[in-house]
């Protein structure tokens, strides 16, 4: 099989750190936390009263009437995709029948479902919005992004929990390599800061309850970590066949060199403590990129700040790559964006390569005993990065690793 080169020509994001990629990246490199207190009345009764809410509300970007018809996760997907599309300069530059979308969400339109259920209970079925179904369907974000730009080469909706974003990118890579599309708008979105998902994760004892100190609650690999902090946002990445990008003179930000996707077959939510599936995913991605572990200089880790999950990945990175890469967990600043994490963290990985800097893992004051890798703790690290990897693992036993290199 001949290898088709795939490049990144546009990035977009709306996150707890900023309303676009530039502001998000500046905040990340500066080590700012996007976590704060939940002040809504509904939060008062919950065991968890902190979250990483968006820095810029969608109502500041999209028209009011349009927002009425979109689940929040769909609105965020559109905002991120619009930015990425504009940066790539694709308007009029791609055949619609060669344009695909690969966009997912971990949980989807849950807040629409719950809000409309309240209306059903309180006011009856006639009051339920006729927009309910397109707002809550899992393919909604992908479909709205496809509609926005007239994508006609297929609109694919990925769902693999917290690995969704990275797996949507991996699918996008496949689509271009297989000749199904020339350009793929890939990414993921999540917006479930609502009492039910929070109560569900809290009942699993998966979330931090450091309610009185929100900015210090997300602390991957720290001895005093006590769970993840829920975040919301979306990330979009324009993937393009390299010769298509070259022919139109597009600016190439990075090369999307390889991807690895595996599954644990171990437990529905517990990560394999030996990280065997993660190791296979990383090795597969590196091999797919035509590289060896020695070439990987930086890892944007999945590390969510849960007591169980964080350390297994450390073993996995050491086994699959070695002890030389500089690693970080940007979730220390953004919280855990669930399905959107893989897209946002791939953007961070790409920008780390571009700017030769690893953003810090904040709050890593007292590293856990097994942390024997080089973490960019507390401060950003200047580093020449020809190639880097982003890991995303999800409930269900999904493991995805994606490799980006300098163009």
């Amino acid at each position: 099989m001949t290898t088709v080169d795939v490049v990144v020509t546009g990035l977009g994001a709306t996150t707890p750190l900023g309303g676009d990629v530039a502001s998000t990246w500046d905040a990340m490199v500066a080590g700012r936390s996007g976590v704060g207190s939940l002040t809504s009345e509904w939060a008062a009764q919950l065991p968890v009263r902190i979250a990483a809410e968006l820095a810029v509300e969608p109502s500041e970007v999209l028209e009011r009437v349009r927002l009425r018809r979109l689940d929040r996760s769909e609105a965020l997907a559109l905002i991120a995709a619009q930015q990425a599309w504009a940066e790539a300069g694709l308007e009029g530059a791609v055949d619609n029948e060669r344009l695909a979308v690969s966009f997912g969400s971990g949980i989807g339109g849950a807040t629409t479902l719950l809000n409309q259920d309240d209306i059903l209970e309180q006011s009856g079925p006639r009051r339920v919005s006729p927009h309910t179904v397109p707002m809550l369907m899992p393919n909604g974000p992908a479909a709205y992004v496809g509609l926005e730009f007239g994508a006609r080469a297929g609109v694919r909706a990925m769902a693999s929990a917290c690995a969704t974003g990275a797996e949507a990118l991996a699918l996008g890579l496949d689509l271009i390599r297989l000749g199904r599309a020339d350009v793929v708008i890939a990414g993921s979105t999540e917006a479930v800061i609502h009492p039910l998902p929070i109560a569900g994760f809290a009942s699993m004892r998966a979330m931090s309850t450091r309610n009185d100190d929100p900015e210090r609650a997300s602390r991957p690999w720290d001895k005093n970590r006590d769970g993840f902090v829920l975040g919301e946002g979306a990330g979009a990445i324009i993937l393009e066949r390299a010769d298509h990008a070259a022919a139109r003179g597009a600016r190439v930000i990075a090369r999307f060199a390889g991807a690895g996707v595996t599954s644990d077959g171990y437990d529905i939510v517990q990560p394999d403590p030996e990280c065997r599936g993660g190791i296979r995913a990383m090795r597969m991605a590196i091999q797919d990129a035509g590289l060896t572990g020695a070439d990987i200089k930086h890892v944007n880790a999945h590390a969510t700040s849960t007591p169980v999950g964080d350390m297994g990945e450390i073993k996995g990175i050491r086994t699959a790559i070695g002890d030389h890469p500089v690693i970080t967990s940007t979730k220390s600043m953004t919280g855990h964006l669930l399905g959107a994490a893989g897209a946002l963290e791939s953007i961070a990985t790409i920008l780390a390569i571009r700017d030769s800097v690893v953003p810090p893992t904040i709050n890593l004051d007292d590293p856990d005993d097994g942390l024997d890798l080089d973490v960019a703790a507390l401060k950003p690290r200047q580093l020449d990065i020809p190639a880097a990897i982003n890991n995303s693992f999800g409930f269900g036993g999904h493991n995805v690793a994606v490799v980006f290199t300098r163009p």
Binding site: E63, R64, V65, R66, R68, R69, R127, S129, P130, H131
Partner: protein, 80 residues
């Protein structure tokens, strides 16, 4: 009893809220779909909001006959 003008202006408020229609564009001869760009899902929202505002019942089989703002005004005037 509301006058036709009052019903029209009430519909204009609903159309602005639900579908972002400029109230200045709302007049009796205007077609919901062709002139005011109200799609079928938004029309459902308009009907439910109008039922509440004017205290009428607009059965689904009537909605298809309400092509223009004037059709809706006449139906509401006759049934509320």
């Amino acid at each position: 009893m509301a006058t036709r003008e009052e019903i029209t202006s009430g519909l204009a408020e609903i159309l602005e809220e639900v579908a972002g229609v400029n109230p200045d564009d709302v007049a009796e001869e205007k077609s919901f779909t062709d002139d005011l760009d109200v799609d079928s899902l938004s029309m459902v929202e308009v009907v439910v909001a109008a039922e509440e505002k004017f205290g009428v019942k607009i059965p689904d089989n009537e909605v298809q006959n309400l092509k223009t703002v004037g059709d809706a005004v006449s139906y509401i005037e006759a049934n509320h």
